[in-house]
């Protein structure tokens, strides 16, 4: 009888090993890759000038946004596994076209393999997480920064750059568009067959047209000759940007 104790650790190790193999067979990594453009051109910080309505030229310094509450969608259309709480997607370090082409990647670990009919992204910080504060996290967490004390909200997106509104070439207008607040949180589902397999790279690509965030499909645009700053959750222009974000982001084929 006592000899059975000899085999208990061995059995446990074998069982653990088998479980690990099952786990490895049922889970995989998934990379969400984001690229950004300004209309037809790749989005590069500092080094490129982009044509903007009202004969304005625009040069970027920063474009970043949070994604949160990311779910894969099951074949019946219902939400499947949640694969991400929150991540900050920042193009602030993109200074060349090769970096723009490479994009910004968010690597998700231990995603259940299988067939899915789509993926849903929260654009911004979802209302539950938006009730938290930087002190709730470690300093390496994406929500340890970008917090607005004045609005009790994270800054969901930042668009910063210089606009040349008078044609002088001096890029006289400092543009800082910061948007946050629960009312500016959006969710978008991308219906597209997704097959995630174990043991091989799985990647989904998204592209964001920054111009489309500032110019809607009727031609209405944020005029930098009139307004260069949004630091708000309630501004109609903050809502304008948030609504446009839904149209500006798409899934690459």
């Amino acid at each position: 009888m006592k000899k059975i104790f000899l085999f208990l650790p061995l059995l446990w190790i074998l069982a653990f090993s088998a479980c690990q193999q099952d786990k490895e067979a049922s889970l995989t990594d998934l990379t969400l890759n984001f690229t950004a453009d300004f209309a037809e051109d790749p989005l590069v910080m500092y080094g490129r000038t982009y044509a903007y309505p009202n004969s304005t030229d625009f040069r970027l310094q920063l474009f970043q946004f949070y994604i949160s509450d990311v779910y894969l969608i099951k074949s019946d259309g219902t939400a499947g596994p949640k694969v991400l709480d929150v991540a900050l997607v920042s193009f602030g370090g993109v200074q060349s076209e090769s970096e723009a082409a490479q994009g910004v990647s968010v690597v998700l670990k231990d995603v259940p393999v299988g067939q899915y009919s789509g993926i849903r992204l929260g654009l911004g910080v979802d209302p539950v997480l938006n009730k938290t504060q930087p002190g709730d996290y470690r300093v390496d967490h994406p929500l340890s920064t970008n917090y607005w004390l004045m609005s009790n909200s994270y800054v969901f997106s930042k668009i910063e750059g210089n606009a040349d509104t008078d044609g002088s070439g001096n890029f006289n207008a400092e543009v800082t568009l910061h948007v946050g607040g629960d009312n500016n949180y959006r969710e978008k589902t991308f219906p597209q067959p997704i097959e995630l397999r174990a043991g091989q790279p799985n990647s989904l690509g998204f592209s964001v047209d920054l111009r489309r965030m500032l110019v809607d499909d009727t031609g209405k645009f944020l005029n930098f000759a009139m307004m260069t700053q949004i630091h708000s959750d309630q501004s109609p222009w903050a809502v304008f940007i948030s609504d446009n974000f839904m149209e500006a982001i798409s899934m690459r084929k």
Binding site: K3, L6, F16, D140, Y147, M150
Partner: protein
């Protein structure tokens, strides 16, 4: 049966270890022996290979204040990082043990353990431990070499045995630079400051006067009828830095192009990182004059005047640095608010003084 006893024991021990050992992220461990900041502070990252230990902090503190680490025996870490000045030195540039001047202004070590990535004005070192290793051999700092430092510590009646004991080394011959770096880094991580009058105000246990409150509103852009000094974009609560690298318009266009100190570009090689430097914390800022990476601003009011002017233009000057149009009263109130960030418990903390 006895012949199997050892194997049974080992098997059970293995089982217990497997069940009991933590399986979390091996890169970090919870902070266990550091002073607590306010609850508004995010958690500090501590390397798994250098877990916090009170004896290590105490030993690191002694070494931090000891000139034994320098080539000439006259310079210690505290020479440039004086507790009474919130661990800065009051000089635009410091003079190292070799008589050479540092390239940049000595940064204050306030909450330095919370910096989530690279350190220094340009982010050129990856950790506090690496910073110690580099400072010993920097000709503008300790101007020494590790062979000499290790020999001196090994032969020292207190440090040698203490380090051998702390790291459970067989003897002093096994002492390495990393052991020294680890204890000093642990002391530096303990330099937590979060009990200023501003923190007490946020916690509801202290009041700010009218000028300070008005300055706070200007700093954070809390009230539409007051000007926005744009400070909060980079000097974000709770650390009053977002740890980013920014060109704040301190260099003139000519300096920006030709300055031999390129800042962040020297690390990344990216052309538009030229002239960018780490946003410093403003906690205890009233104690850390002079200001900027080059120590070129002697007073806080000079700093405020710089930002009020909009700074020098450059293609990568931060768009958050723009002409502000602050009145004399606005500037005075902003200054009053910045003084509320002084944490007297930090500079007088007996655990941070020369032992």
């Amino acid at each position: 049966m006895m012949r199997y006893g050892r194997w049974i024991g080992m098997g059970l021990l293995l089982l217990v270890l497997v069940l009991v050992l933590p399986w979390g992220d091996p890169a970090v461990v919870p902070v266990t022996a550091l002073p607590e900041g306010p609850t508004s502070f995010p958690g500090m990252l501590v390397p798994a290979h250098n877990q916090t230990h009170p004896e290590a902090i105490a030993l690191g503190r002694k070494l931090f204040f000891d000139t034994i680490l320098s080539n000439d025996g006259k310079v210690s870490c505290s020479t440039c990082h004086d507790p009474g000045r919130a661990f800065s030195d009051g000089l635009p540039h410091s003079t190292g043990a070799g008589g050479l001047e540092t390239r940049r202004h000595a940064p204050a070590l306030v909450n330095v353990g919370y910096v989530p990535g690279e350190l220094f004005w340009d982010g050129s070192v990856g950790s506090l431990e690496e910073q110690v290793v580099r400072s010993i051999e920097d000709p503008t700092e300790m101007a020494s070499d590790w062979t000499t430092v290790i020999r001196k510590l090994r032969e020292h009646p207190e440090y040698g045995p203490a380090l051998v004991n702390l790291f459970a080394l067989r003897d002093g011959s096994h002492l390495r630079p990393m052991h020294v770096a680890q204890v000093i880094a642990q002391f530096e991580r303990s330099l937590v400051s979060g009990h200023s009058r501003y923190d007490q105000y946020r916690a509801g246990i202290a009041a700010l006067n009218e000028a300070e409150l008005r300055g706070l509103a200007i700093f954070f852009d809390f009230e539409d009828e007051l000007p926005d000094a744009e400070c909060n974009h980079c000097h974000t609560d709770p650390f009053f830095t977002d740890f980013q690298f920014v060109n704040n318009g301190i260099q003139s266009p000519d300096q920006w192009k030709n300055n031999p100190d390129g800042g962040r570009v020297e690390v990344t090689g990216k052309p538009f990182d030229r002239g960018k430097f780490r946003v410093p914390t403003l906690r205890n800022v009233a104690l850390t004059a002079p200001y900027m990476h080059d120590g070129s601003k002697a007073t806080l009011m000079e700093v405020i005047e710089h930002y009020n002017s909009g700074g020098h233009p450059a293609i990568n000057s931060s768009v958050n640095v723009r002409p502000l149009g602050l009145t004399e009263r606005d500037k005075s109130d902003l200054l009053a608010f910045l003084h509320t960030l002084t944490d007297s418990t930090f500079i007088h903390n007996p655990d941070f003084q020369r032992p």
